[in-house]
């Protein structure tokens, strides 16, 4: 028993653990700064304390999932997925809307966001569908079949409504099938279809959503809401310069210019205080984490395991890109958290669990079990 444990500990992926820990600690530090009031000399709400609890819980979950054989999840994939669907239905019917969306279950200490945890369930079920994958490139039928778990989740999340999170699911899946390999005609038709559907999507968007898109082209047109955040975010980042203003010295964010900076706009704080150099270092750290996850799929022979790894990597990539593009004013504000850095239990724990499963695949492969 003890030996088996030692064996596992010896083959752990220390690069992965190192980057993961580093990002988590950085997250706590930046959240502390986001909440820090320069005038008062102390933090306002103490989000960082809660984030510490999330991080400790997340690290525990990461190791628990690392040491559980990942094949167990594949075995119970359908039940896990049904449970997730149950939670999503629960929020739709029983949760009071917060800011117009029914996305949270209040469990006292914190608000649970089922659409985050659903990512784990959807990824596992998708991977299970690849159990008897024959190695061929995907045609239309294949894509349609494999997309079922994601589409079901997306449908329920759109009803909340939380289009931003739904979009993350779709992009994650898109990158997955690209990595698995598409037949040329499928790839081309998706490309053409996307272009053709843009006007249709535009007509389906609610006026406020169109407004958010337009704000990107012309931030001045809505100085009240989305445009305001983007303008302030850009000012803060630009003011950071090359070296940054220094930790806890970011005036833009600390003076409450940016609403909820500890959440989706956490990268703004980092960029303002750590400057261009710090921002690039953070970007490289995240890229390194994604790369470490991604290449661990190469030597895995079981297709479901490969799929779980690729999905985790593409999910990290999607959220990282969407979030940073959003705070830099390149795409509309759609409320996607930065992986590991943004304040929030549901998002953090979801990524911790996924990394844990990826890590468990790594350990199994090294031990040849």
């Amino acid at each position: 028993m003890f030996d088996a444990m030692m064996e596992k500990i010896l083959v752990m992926n220390y690069k992965l653990i190192f980057v993961y820990f580093l990002l988590s600690i950085l997250g706590i530090l930046i959240i502390y700064s986001a909440d820090y009031n320069t005038a008062l000399g102390h933090v306002n709400k103490g989000y960082y304390l809660r984030q510490i609890v999330f991080v400790l819980t997340g690290i525990t979950l990461f190791f628990i999932f690392s040491f559980i054989n990942y094949r167990l999840w594949i075995h119970f994939a359908l039940y896990i997925f049904i449970f997730g669907i149950g939670l999503l239905l629960f929020v739709l019917y029983f949760s009071p809307p917060i800011n117009g969306a029914r996305s949270w279950i209040n469990v006292g200490f914190f608000s649970l966001q089922p659409s985050e945890f659903m990512k784990v369930a959807a990824i596992i079920l998708t991977s299970t569908m690849f159990l008897n994958y024959d190695g061929r490139l995907l045609g239309f039928l294949g894509v349609a079949r494999y997309s079922i778990p994601v589409l079901v989740s997306v449908a329920l999340i759109i009803l909340q409504p939380d289009q931003g999170t739904a979009l993350v699911y779709v992009l994650m899946f898109g990158l997955l099938i690209l990595a698995v390999g598409l037949r040329l005609y499928v790839l081309l038709s998706f490309g053409v279809l996307t272009l053709l559907s843009l006007p249709l999507v535009w007509s389906l968007l609610k006026p406020y959503q169109r407004e958010r898109v337009m704000v990107i082209l012309d931030p001045g047109r809505d100085p009240f809401n989305a445009g305001y955040q983007v303008i302030q975010s850009k000012i803060a980042i630009g003011a950071g310069g090359i070296p940054g203003k220094g930790y806890l010295e970011g005036t833009q964010s600390n003076l409450n210019f940016i609403p909820y900076p500890h959440n989706d706009f956490i990268f703004t704080i980092a960029a303002e205080e750590f400057g261009f150099i710090g921002s690039v270092i953070i970007i490289l750290l995240v890229l390194f984490l994604i790369y470490t996850v991604f290449i661990s799929a190469y030597n895995v022979k079981e297709m479901p395991a490969k799929v779980i790894i690729i999905c985790t990597a593409t999910l990290l990539l999607t959220q990282f890109i969407v979030n940073t593009y959003m705070v830099l004013g390149l795409i509309p504000v759609i409320g996607i958290p930065f992986p590991f850095l943004s304040y929030g239990g549901s998002s953090y724990l979801t990524f911790a669990i996924l990394l844990g499963i990826v890590h468990s695949i790594h350990i199994s492969r090294r031990l040849q079990v």
């Binding site: 159990l131 100085p223 005036t251």
Partner: protein
Amino acid sequence: MQLPVLKDEDSDRLRGYSYYVIYIAVFLTLILIARLFFLQIYSHKYYSDLAENNHIRILPIYAERGYIYDTNGELLVSNQPTFSLHLPLIREEDVSDILRRISEHVPINMTSAIESVKSATYFYPAVIAKGLNFTQVSYFYEHKNEFASLIINNEGVRKYFYPQSMTHILGYVGEVSKATLSLSDEFRPGDSIGVNGMESYYDRILRGMDGAMQVRVDSRGRRLGILSQKDPQQGSDIHITIDAELQKYAYDVMKRRNETGAVVVMNISDGSLLTLFSAPTYDLEQFTPMVDTDYLRTIRAQENKPFINRAISSAYPPGSIFKLWMLAGGLNDNVVTTETQFNCRGVFTYSRTQSYFCWRRSGHGDVSAVRALEESCDVYFYNLGLLMGIDTINKYATNYGFGNRTGVDLPSERKGFFPSKTWKEDRGGVWFPGESIITSIGQGYITTTPLQIAVSTAALFNGGTVYTPHILKKVVEPEMNERYGPKNITLNLSYPRAARVVEGMNNSSIEAVREGMFRVSNGKRGTARGYKPKGVVIGGKTGTSQVVSLEAVAKYKKDEIPFNLRDHGWFVAIAPVDNPKYVITVFAEHGGSGSGAAAPVARSMINKMVAMGYFEADSEE
């Protein structure tokens, strides 16, 4: 536990494809870094200046709320300009100081103002006072430097032209509640929102969309210039079907007679409402420029509940007016014919222990359909109800709209209630024949609203269409600011709209009801023969519904019964009777009786309508 494994060549192929994702990741990251380079290095000085030397504030530019007009285009509600004071989040010790100095010139609520400022942000100042006139704010304009961070803004508030007679229809405008704020990000603290009546129901249409401007201020909070501005989108005007003069007349009549209750005048052939009045009313003037909370508390505590719109928001037993649908249904189902007679000796004995009295204890003798309506003979309907059974009664009543919301375009409508056998059995009870008997004269479990009566009566005489009653005539949109697109309005604004059509009614049943109603008002023994209006021939039906059992009031002399125990009076009229255009429903809460309290009001209303020319086209025909 083992899973199937991939062949080596497949695994290699996958490895090759997965590089695409890495290329994409690298490409997207390069864009990201380029953007960072642009913001943090290339444009650093520009953004640094913006951050260091200026502060940015966001001020709302309030959208003007839409006006409301009556059916003849007469202005009912418009706006008058006022000023509001805003304060951004400033150092805590400065807050109470500036608020104290402000309060020397205008009345402000210190505790709530301090609270609002604390929860405000630098960019979005809190509203600390609203509805001020120019004299009140002129001091602040003259002493700008002493009130550096104070911001004065313009806002229109409501101006009412019929503050008493239109109360329940219009509703008023108040400050958005904390509950609403937490539910929706559409509003900000201090925003206005419609409360009650049309102001609430059509809030989205009337409200428009606030604009905003982004202003640069210096370190002391003084305004340096406007960075960008989003123009407000003015609210749409609404024209309603209500005739303000007639509505005002209803108010005058009810007030003069000191009645509590409701008056409804509706167009039979499209469901448009000319009058929808509820008494008592309250004074809308007390809600502008700001809601007078003392007044609000007073009328909320008042025993006669002026807040309730009695025409739609409160349900009462209909009493004898329900006999109209009893007769129509009974004849239509061939339970009786117009010739069928029942003998009334003043009492109907169902069993040894169960006797039901006619309102006329001396009896009506042999009574057939038309006379039963004319004299409102209870015993006739006891017999009819027993023969029909509750299921048939329920079928006709619910078809005509009883027990369902009419769907009128006002908030807080009550459904009323119509009993059925299954309803009682589902609750573990048994439906007794005696309950069918009292249902036949509109007593027992059945409740309805004055508007429901109007709609159901209209459906009897317009060929069976149960219209959705409405007060909306048209929405006049201001010139749309194309840039922001049309507003997200989910209301169905197309009228007239039929909720349902009652099928299979034969003409002769309806004609018998019409003849009965004609004789109520014009027959020599009609229960409302004393209240014939001049200039138009009407048909009517009186109703007197018991509030408590007869035993409970037996100890009082007739005119000494306490107000709250007195019977409700109802009167429903169709005019002109041979080709009805309008239905008039009067409800007199605790009025004593239909003929005594409700019919006179209906007569006054119809006389007024004649004088206003509502029936002129008819006389030409």
